[in-house]
Amino acid sequence: MATYYFNLKGEPATPFTVSGEEMVSKGRGIKAIAPEGIEAWRLSYNLSTKAVDVAYEGLSEEDAIAKKLEDDVAEAAATLQAEKDARAANEAE
């Protein structure tokens, strides 16, 4: 486990103590314990549970990227379908 600093929205900000402590002291950072060996893009600080979440936990970096891409494509397709459904509903009215 290692210390990581997040901004007030829970986004990763810095792993470095000097920079992180400045953020915390000036009220714009959160100090937390994060698992080591996980790329920062997968880390976020959960403001509700006050703990670090790991996206695609248990997956390797390669698998996590693949899963993220898969999820993004699925989301985009779902969004597009929702738009088409809504448009069709409008036209039916």
């Binding site: 470095f16 000036k26 790329e39 893009w41 891409l69 993004d72 969004t79």
Partner: protein
């Protein structure tokens, strides 16, 4: 700074004809398949619409993009290289151009984008036609000079530097229009590969990094040239070197993952910032390039201020020149030319940002800029008088478009005090709070990390229209002056 651009011409009061109004940006909004709805508008730094684009169109399937792109007029099949702008930009390479166009790599300080750009009137153009993998920017864009220019001026001439030769190109076309081998002016020729060049027009100072090869060699010779004539005002590159007032050099050993990433920021005070992407992180160092005398201070150690500084913000896997020429580290300046930015993506091929922002007056003053987006990005461009914005392209169905905007104090150049950054918010109460607090922050020099916040723009895509807006550079922001309705005052 505001007076420097007035030095053009003999009267001392003539505005430099290169000077533009405050930055504009183009906003492309297309439906998911880019074949049912489409809008392209040009906005100014106040988010007011300017110009008259070809217009919007809806619900036609006659051809892709409806001819909004000039390219479609001489494409083979009217499909214009694909049909989809909205992809999330996560792990796709530059050959996946439909995603690359939203990438941080798309644009730098030069007025032309590398993929899509637009005129002030809204005419959108694909810059690299059918062979974009062999075009200038994708192979040798890294040889362009990083230019520090007076207020409101972007590079209007494209100079490149490779080996011991400077060349001039017309924009980002592939045709040479000038050539000069400056080897006879060098006091040291140990390293034969120019791998990073900066020019300061106010100082008429050119600073080059020469390496032992064009890949990973760490040996460096830094050449400093001070001329009595402005490179951008010369008829030929040769004129700059024929009028040298002095030249010096120093040698050093610098760590670099790829020499094509070197970015050179020549400060107004003669201190020069050198930065690059290094693995997933970045490095930045500052050296005194003021005149010391021939044979004096010829080592890096004798000229370096402080130490090399690694990027202090969050990093993750991201690409630089070692992954492809086109991923070279980029440089931009604010409109007023008081702050510069050396930057590369936070995430893989183009999302988020890792940047050093430095005072152009004094490159020893710098902080770290961070935005950790891992999908749906947009390039960053100059915004307002002393700021940048961009980076956000999430679905704007029923939402207004947002940007990660931030601005600096143009008079702030003291590296012994914190750097002030102004930011915005996604709510009015956040942007204009009911208290006396600063919206933004003060950041320690060298180690301070500014984590960017999104702000709302008011630009809306309507409802039931999936769209992932794409921000484009505009190649002419309009002439500077009171006749320009998009000029924001001052």
């Amino acid at each position: 700074m505001s007076n420097l651009s007035k030095l053009f011409g003999s009267s001392g009061s003539t505005t430099d004809p290169r000077k533009e109004g405050l930055p504009l940006f183009g906003m492309w909004g297309g439906s998911s398949d880019s074949n049912t709805q489409m809008q392209f508008r040009v906005f100014d730094s106040n988010f007011r619409v300017t110009g008259s684009p070809w217009g919007s169109t809806c619900d036609t399937t006659t051809n892709y993009r409806f001819g909004i792109l000039a390219d479609a007029s001489h494409a083979y099949n009217m499909k214009d290289h694909g049909d989809n702008f909205h992809n999330n930009l996560t792990t796709e390479g530059y050959d996946s151009w439909t995603n690359y166009i939203k990438s941080l790599y798309q644009i730098d300080q030069y007025p032309h984008c590398f993929h899509y750009t637009a005129s002030r009137d809204g005419f959108v153009t694909w810059q690299s036609y059918h062979q974009f993998t062999s075009s200038f920017e994708y192979q040798v864009g890294w040889t362009k000079l990083n230019q520090v220019l007076p207020e409101g001026i972007r590079p209007r001439r494209t100079f490149t530097n490779r080996r011991f030769t400077m060349r001039e190109f017309m924009g980002n076309s592939d045709c040479n229009c000038d050539y000069y081998n400056y080897e006879s002016h060098l006091l040291n020729t140990d390293q034969a590969y120019a791998t990073g060049t900066g020019y300061n027009e106010m100082c008429k100072m050119l600073v080059m990094v020469h390496s032992g090869n064009e890949s990973t060699n760490t040996s460096k010779t830094i050449h400093i040239f001070k001329s009595s004539v402005d490179l951008n005002a010369t008829t030929r590159i040769k004129d700059f070197f024929d009028n040298l007032e002095w030249t010096e050099y120093f040698t050093d050993t610098w760590t670099n993952q790829n020499v094509k990433d070197w970015t050179v920021v020549v400060g107004n005070n003669g201190w020069v910032g050198f930065g690059l992407k290094q693995s997933n992180s970045k490095r930045y160092g500052v050296f005194d390039c003021n005149q010391k005398g021939v044979g004096v201070d010829t080592t890096g150690a004798s000229r370096q201020w402080s130490t090399w500084h690694d990027f202090a913000g969050s990093t993750t896997t991201s690409y630089g020149a070692t992954n492809g020429h086109q991923y070279y580290t980029k440089f931009q300046t604010t409109w007023d030319g008081t702050w510069g930015m050396i930057y590369s993506p936070y995430y893989y091929y183009g999302c988020g940002i890792n940047a050093f922002c430095m005072s152009i007056e004094n490159p020893r003053k710098f902080i770290n800029i961070n935005q950790t987006k891992s999908g749906r990005a947009n390039p960053y461009v100059a915004w307002g008088r002393t700021g940048f914005h961009g980076g956000w392209s999430d679905n704007c169905d029923s939402e207004v478009w947002q940007t990660y905007a931030f601005a600096f104090d143009p008079k702030d150049s003291d590296h012994t005090i914190d750097t002030r950054v102004y930011k915005g918010s996604t709510s009015g109460e956040g942007a204009m709070p009911d208290n006396n607090s600063l919206v933004g922050g003060d950041y320690a020099n060298k180690t301070g990390v500014c984590s960017l916040d999104a702000m709302r723009t008011g630009l809306h895509g309507g409802t039931q229209t999936t769209n992932y807006p794409m921000l484009m550079g505009i190649n002419w922001w309009g002439s500077y002056g009171k006749g320009d309705a998009s000029y924001g005052g001052k």
